[in-house]
């Protein structure tokens, strides 16, 4: 027993020494006299970033950190409007085929080296290099033909064809070429200790525990108000709330149950401000329309399905109003809602009429719908880990049962669900998607026929007209022209309903009242610019 106790002491000592050796010394920033500067903001992360390499990262938490340490050429503000960041201005020429970006002068990386167009070109080259596995970045750069750097502060990007969504990809934070060039790109030490030009400098990353950033006093856009930006890894949602209550963190998103328990509590409201925003994530049902099932190849049946589902009722009762029901494929902040788009409200009478018209009539003997002896019964795949999937599916099952349709529900873990979607091995499935900030990001993947095999067009939707519009939307540089193209797509999709767009669930969160001057964008409170610079704590 004594020997075992000695082992324990030795081990404890080893653990105690290890972090002290591995973490870099924290930078002490002396606050100047100015009011409002200083303090620490602590934000919880549920998942650990996989890498802090600006190019290879593909998950949201890595992206949060990268946006603070690095600067992209452009960014989006709290309303998702395009704003300049390292590029002061830009223009499209040659009918939208050439994008010229004019870079900000006098910008330096955190190690003091100057930022130039060579860094931009290097960043682009790393994204398109297959060895980089830049899963989250590559799509926006595939149409690029070449990148030229006529001088240190000008970048000219030549696309294979006019490419209107081009700027979305240039949100990628710019890598320091002089540091990465010396190393193997995938295993470089800067992947876990990034250097950028951004408002915060990287201080330390303690695996599984936290990532600490310190304000960059020499930031070209002015020094940020807070001194320390800390990300704490807290995998459990329950613990996150407890940590907020204990004052260990400044912000926590709340589950619907937690929101209900706390949002109305005066003692809670005295300490915390409640925050709600509509994120870019939405749920939809894909109806496999390639003829592999007898039901969903007919657009009338798909429309009937949408009209049979009481989406508004679900949002107002189950979600207690914290959600938004779209009829468009676009988030309202990505494409302003079209007043002329017909709303597909819950309407069992019209559903029945459409189904009758499509030949799916009620068999008087059984009371169930059938066509030519084939009963209308199908299987809906859902993700078992999401309350929204499970609850919505149950409500839908009951609505359809009353219309004479039998729907079975199959619950899957999400890798399996994705795999079945990808193979087209399903009849109908609930899935979710994080929409991009450019309308093309969402629409092209879901609707273009080239994305049926291996892409995200799970419904196997194939419409020559929509394909043509999607391609036109990529080429149209004029914002008004683009908007009208995407509105045309919306109307056609509303008619053909390859998907039923269910709802955007609202994010509900609580933020310490000592935090000031920030409001969430649809991408959250961190992923916005220049909002984070103005965040301050008392």
């Amino acid at each position: 027993m004594r020997a075992r106790a000695l082992c324990l002491v030795a081990l404890l000592v080893a653990v105690a020494i290890a972090p002290a050796c591995s973490s870099s010394p924290s930078t002490v920033v002396v606050p100047p006299g100015g009011a409002g500067y200083g303090g620490r903001f602590v934000y919880p992360l549920r998942f650990e970033p996989l890498t802090l390499n600006f190019v290879t990262l593909s998950d949201q938490t890595s992206d949060y950190v990268a946006r603070l340490v690095g600067d992209g050429l452009v960014d989006r503000d709290a309303d998702l409007r395009l704003v300049p960041r390292l590029a002061e201005s830009w223009d499209f020429t040659d009918g939208g085929r050439v994008l010229t970006l004019h870079l900000r002068g006098g910008v330096r990386f955190h190690d003091g080296a100057p930022f130039t167009s060579a860094d931009v070109k290097y960043t682009y080259e790393r994204v398109i290099d297959p060895k980089s596995r830049a899963i989250g970045r590559i799509d926006g750069f595939l149409p690029v033909e070449r990148v030229e750097t006529p001088d240190d502060l000008t970048v000219r990007v030549v696309y294979q064809h006019p490419y209107a969504p081009a700027l979305a990809a240039w949100e990628v934070p710019i890598l320091p070429r002089h540091l990465y060039e010396k190393d193997d790109f995938l295993t470089s030490r800067y992947n876990r200790a990034p250097v950028g030009t951004g408002p915060f400098r990287f201080v330390s990353w303690e695996t599984g525990r936290r990532i600490v950033l310190a304000s960059n006093p020499d930031y070209w856009g002015g020094r940020p108000f807070i001194d320390t930006f800390e990300f704490q890894l807290i995998p459990s949602q329950e613990t996150t709330l407890q940590a907020l209550l204990a004052g260990e963190i400044d912000y926590a998103s709340l589950s619907p149950v937690q929101w209900k328990a706390h949002a109305q509590d005066p003692a809670f409201s005295r300490r915390f401000e409640t925050v709600r925003y509509l994120p870019l994530f939405f749920l939809y049902i894909a109806w496999r329309g390639d003829g592999s099932t007898p039901y969903f190849a007919d657009p009338r049946v798909r429309r009937a399905m949408t009209l049979a589902l009481d989406r508004d009722g679900y949002v107002s009762t189950v979600l207690q109003g914290s959600g938004f029901v779209p009829d468009s494929v676009f988030h309202p902040a990505v494409l302003a809602p079209d007043p002329a788009l017909p709303a597909l409200h819950y309407d069992p009478v019209r559903t029945a009429a459409l189904l009758d018209e499509a030949g799916w009539r009620i068999d008087p003997a059984t009371g169930r719908r059938a066509r030519a002896g084939v009963p209308f019964q199908f299987n809906l795949l859902i993700f078992s880990g999401s309350e929204d999937h499970v609850q919505f599916a149950q409500v839908a099952q009951e609505s359809l049962r009353r219309l004479g349709i039998d729907m079975t529900i199959q619950r899957l873990d999400w890798p399996t669900l994705w795999s079945r979607l990808q193979k087209g091995d399903f009849q109908a499935a609930v899935s979710g998607l994080v929409a991009g900030v450019d309308p093309d990001d969402t629409a092209y993947g879901l609707l273009h026929s080239s994305q049926i095999k291996g892409g995200q067009n799970y419904a196997a939707f194939h419409d020559a007209q929509v394909d043509a519009w999607l391609e036109a939307g990529r080429r149209a540089v004029d914002p008004d022209e683009r908007r009208s193209i995407y509105r045309l797509i919306d109307r056609r999709v509303a008619e053909l309903q390859p998907y039923t767009f269910l709802f955007f669930p609202m994010t509900q969160a609580a933020m310490s009242r000592r935090v000031r001057d920030i409001r969430p964008s649809p991408r959250g409170i961190i992923a916005q610019y220049p909002g984070v610079l103005r965040l301050r704590v008392q």
């Binding site: 002290a20 704490q232 807290i234 204990a246 994705w418």
Partner: protein, 327 residues
């Protein structure tokens, strides 16, 4: 002796290969590949997914990938994590110390309470202490770990503010300061792990002591003038065999993670790593962790075999009849 050990080690090798084979093919039965899992909710075009798949080598068949993994392993290379590209040894090395520290604390807490209780209960069976203790431990055993964790957090950390709510760190100006900080962070998770362990080990040790305390030789040594306490302590050596058997489960348990406790207390241990790796279909990490626990299970058994030889002369003579004097 050496020959005996060698025989045991060699006979364990096929089991190791078998374990990794099964783990590998079970992972491959899951109908998805890492690229699909990573792309998750984000838009990834057909072109990009295809490029990535061939770059990672997941477009090759499972047999080819297993062979490549096994060959690299023979050279001592566990490969690189598919998720973050770091060497697997580094990835596991980050999580292992925390799990080891937590599990050691938990084992000490469990045995430190349960073995004395077993001795007390066994020396006066049916007494009020014995029965009350038995009930209390059984009740604690019935509390689900996640509920215990949440209640402890609410009371001790948020309400009273005595201990840290979550996370783990070992910071401080001096070495004792760091150890103290680490112990404070590990206190609540250790307690959670100990709750269920206490009842089991207490029952076990009580039964072990009971089997010895009723024997006649105890009366003989008492009659010869040894005090009750000293007699009991001396006799404890005779109960060593069942405790040695328990070691076989403790050794692999040292690196096994407790997913729930690690999750609730934000501990970056092996349990969370395992779960994350399986979810991401990160084959190299999953295989290495499986291999590690298989090695430890086998090592545990080997250790037990050795200790049997030491603590029980009967086993020694049965196994090594020709040279009992060698040990």
């Amino acid at each position: 002796m050496i020959a005996f050990l060698l025989r045991r080690v060699v006979s364990a090798l096929p089991a190791l290969v078998g374990v990794t084979l099964v783990a590998f093919f079970v992972l491959n039965l899951l109908p998805s590949d890492p690229v699909q899992v990573w792309s998750g909710g984000s838009a990834l075009s057909a072109e990009a997914a295809g490029r990535l798949r061939s770059e990672l080598g997941v477009d090759r068949g499972p047999a080819a990938r297993y062979a490549a993994w096994a060959v690299a392993l023979l050279r001592g290379d566990l490969g690189h994590s598919l998720r973050d590209g770091r060497p697997v040894a580094f990835v596991i090395g980050d999580a292992l110390p925390w799990s080891l520290a937590l599990n050691l604390c938990a084992i000490l807490a469990i045995y430190g309470v349960a073995v004395p209780y077993g001795l007390v209960g066994a020396s006066s069976p049916g007494s009020a202490t014995d029965r009350a203790g038995g009930w209390a431990l059984l009740l604690l055993y019935a509390v689900p770990p996640f509920a215990a964790a949440l209640i402890l957090q609410q009371w001790v950390a948020v309400g009273l503010g005595w201990l840290p709510l979550q996370g783990v760190s070992a910071e401080g100006a001096s070495l004792p300061g760091r150890v103290w900080d680490l112990l404070r962070h590990l206190a609540l998770p250790t307690l959670c792990l100990a709750l269920s362990g206490w009842a089991i080990v207490a029952r076990y040790s009580r039964a072990a002591f009971r089997s010895v305390l009723g024997r006649e030789f105890l009366s003989v040594v008492r009659a010869k003038g040894l005090s009750r306490l000293r007699a009991h302590l001396r006799l404890a050596a005779n109960t060593a065999v069942p405790f040695v058997t328990l070691l076989a489960t403790i050794v692999p348990g040292l690196v096994g993670g407790s997913i729930i406790v690690e999750q609730v207390f934000s501990l970056p241990g092996v349990g969370r790593l395992y779960l994350a790796a399986v979810e991401a279909r990160d084959y190299p990490v999953v295989l290495a962790l499986t291999l590690l626990s298989a090695v430890l299970v086998l090592a545990g058994h080997l250790l037990v075999d050795l200790l049997y030889l030491l603590v029980d002369p009967r086993i020694r003579t049965a196994l090594l009849p020709e040279r009992t004097d060698a040990i």
